[in-house]
Symmetry: C2
Subunit: 349 residues, 2 copies
């Protein structure tokens, strides 16, 4: 798109209505049609972008809650304002020396058609476009780096180790499982439907997978799949699953805590009772955040891009079409409606 | 004592009656007078020892429970047999090349006057006797190494960091606090009586201390003592305290889990609800076991012995006299009756 001068155009947005308790509903969000001048403010060193893809990620639920702690990793969304999150966008106008019109980027943007990004230093320029652009909301973006950092950096995996992944068909889990297989580990994943379990076994190459909704006794299920115990647990869900996993960890096991999606919609998080077992087995449980590892992004790309091109790593996306579909797509994450990484396509490239 | 040949003498023992549920009682143990030949069996490469001091440690409670998991760090005591635990002893006869009659050692022995130790490779020879011998059940033995490994190796402390220690006047905690002060940290401890709180502040040099029994809201108490949050938590108690601490951890904080004494006497351990905060703050929680670090023992002695001799590190012991006092001394640990490291003196040196 050429420089749009003082053109005023429609800018549809996904607005956050108010703080949410319990499961989020579509009505906690609404679509608003505002207008925007397609022009950077005078003297701005930000960038004006057209959003192409938005990323639906479980952590967005945390930001729908009122958070009072300024040290928290996550800050609340502002009621009445658009959601913000990871996305893929095209630069329309740049006041920043690192970016120019036409550049493709991924990073934090608004849930709207056009965004003024005032902190463009957090954006990553997209240099490889021989893969689907939507991948930069997933395997080549924040979730991919999360899988990489959590598995390789936090867990220090070794060949032959026993790896368990919850929410294993999601944006992060499917990739952790494939990294674990590349490392020579034995890998089992849990997910919430037969379709997802089939994906894990047939598409992502997990050794085994199970539907946690069909297991009354998670401890027994884990003992069945891991008679020798678990060396590495990639934690995405929390609560009862974590409690059962702790009972099954091996000596010097590692648990990388990426998130706890089963807890986000509860008023009171569930209690985890078996923590003393981390002494019995000398287990490390480590919460991590992807942005502590973004300096490894180019190293990560060097690993993962060739594997994608060789077909050694695959990635399943669930792409909803149009900004109007964004509320349902996001809300659907929390009942597990998505199969694979949930993306919203906003505009053609 | 000279070689006793085939002499048969009395050997009082503290016998484990049966598996315990709830708080242990003195009647869960009993004193038995057996006899023993003061002679190593033919061809044994063990050692025959006279026990001088026995160490009362919270982890012994865990071994009073029925444990079915062979991978557990701890194995159950055998009903009808003497307790086993750390102690200081004198070698009466040795079938092992590393030990000779008259050597002083510390390590795992029986709760009895005389023990045949069939695995003497786990014993440490005592080479420095210009400190109280009982110290080898505490500051110079397993608890000292636990404090050293948990603080320096697991927590990697830095000058100026904020350190919190629970059960802080106990065998391990009092030393962790002093290590933290030597490192230049700000140190707060919790304990269960005014007398112990006074010890922490006046004897061990903690910056602050509080009686957890007088705090209705542990989260509020921690916010009062750590308005900036906690970098390092040395965990000895578990349960509600851990839950409150997690809320107050700083970014990249570390929790070394040494034990969870508040949980040992419960039928069902309490739930810990705030684990998601380890993601918000990127916190590491690590269970550790001292014996993974025993290779550092001589390095540890090089650090701590001079500090003891210079009076820079102090150590408070609570010494019960005589094997008959052992059941009450051990049981008293779980109601916090001991002030400082609980030891039982069995025989004069």
């Amino acid at each position: 798109m050429a420089n749009a001068g003082e053109e005023v155009i429609s800018n549809k947005q996904v607005i956050f209505r108010d703080y949410v308790s319990g499961f989020p509903k579509e009505s906690d969000l609404f679509i608003s049609s505002s207008t925007t001048k397609l022009k950077l403010p005078e003297g701005s060193n930000g960038v004006l972008v057209k959003n192409l893809y938005l990323s639906c990620d479980p952590y967005l639920r945390i930001r729908m809650r009122k958070i009072d702690d300024p040290n928290n990793l996550f800050q609340s969304f502002i009621p009445g304002s658009p959601l913000r999150g990871y996305g893929v966008a095209k630069i329309l106008e740049s006041g920043h020396p690192d970016f120019k019109e036409g550049d493709l980027v991924w990073g934090t943007t608004g849930w709207e058609e056009y965004s003024l990004i005032t902190d463009p230093q957090q954006l990553f320029k997209i240099n490889h476009t021989d893969v689907p652009l939507s991948y930069y909301t997933g395997i080549l973006g924040m979730p991919g780096m999360t899988a990489y950092a959590g598995f390789y950096e936090v867990c220090s995996p070794k060949k032959g180790e026993y790896v368990f992944i919850s929410a294993a068909s999601g944006a992060v889990g499917q990739l952790v499982g494939q990294f674990a297989k590349l490392t020579g580990c034995y890998v089992v994943g849990s997910a919430g439907s037969k379709e997802k379990v089939d994906l894990l076994k047939n598409r992502f190459g997990f050794d085994e997978a199970f539907n946690y909704k069909e297991e009354h006794d998670l401890n027994a299920a884990l003992k069945r799949y891991f008679p020798q115990g678990i060396d590495i647990y990639f934690e995405n869900v929390g609560g009862k699953m974590l409690d059962a996993v702790i009972l099954n960890m091996r000596v010097h096991g590692r648990i990388a805590v990426c998130g706890m999606v089963s807890q986000y919609n509860l008023q009171e998080p569930e209690g985890v009772h078996n923590l003393m077992h981390i002494v019995y087995k000398r287990v490390r449980i480590e919460g991590f955040a992807v942005f502590d590892y973004y300096h490894l992004y180019s190293k990560f790309l060097d690993l993962v891009l060739p594997q994608i091109k060789k077909g050694k790593i695959t990635y399943v996306e669930d792409i909803a079409q149009g900004l109007e579909s964004a509320p349902a797509a996001l809300v659907g994450l929390f009942s597990g409606q998505n199969v694979g990484k949930q993306v919203v396509a906003i505009a053609p490239e």
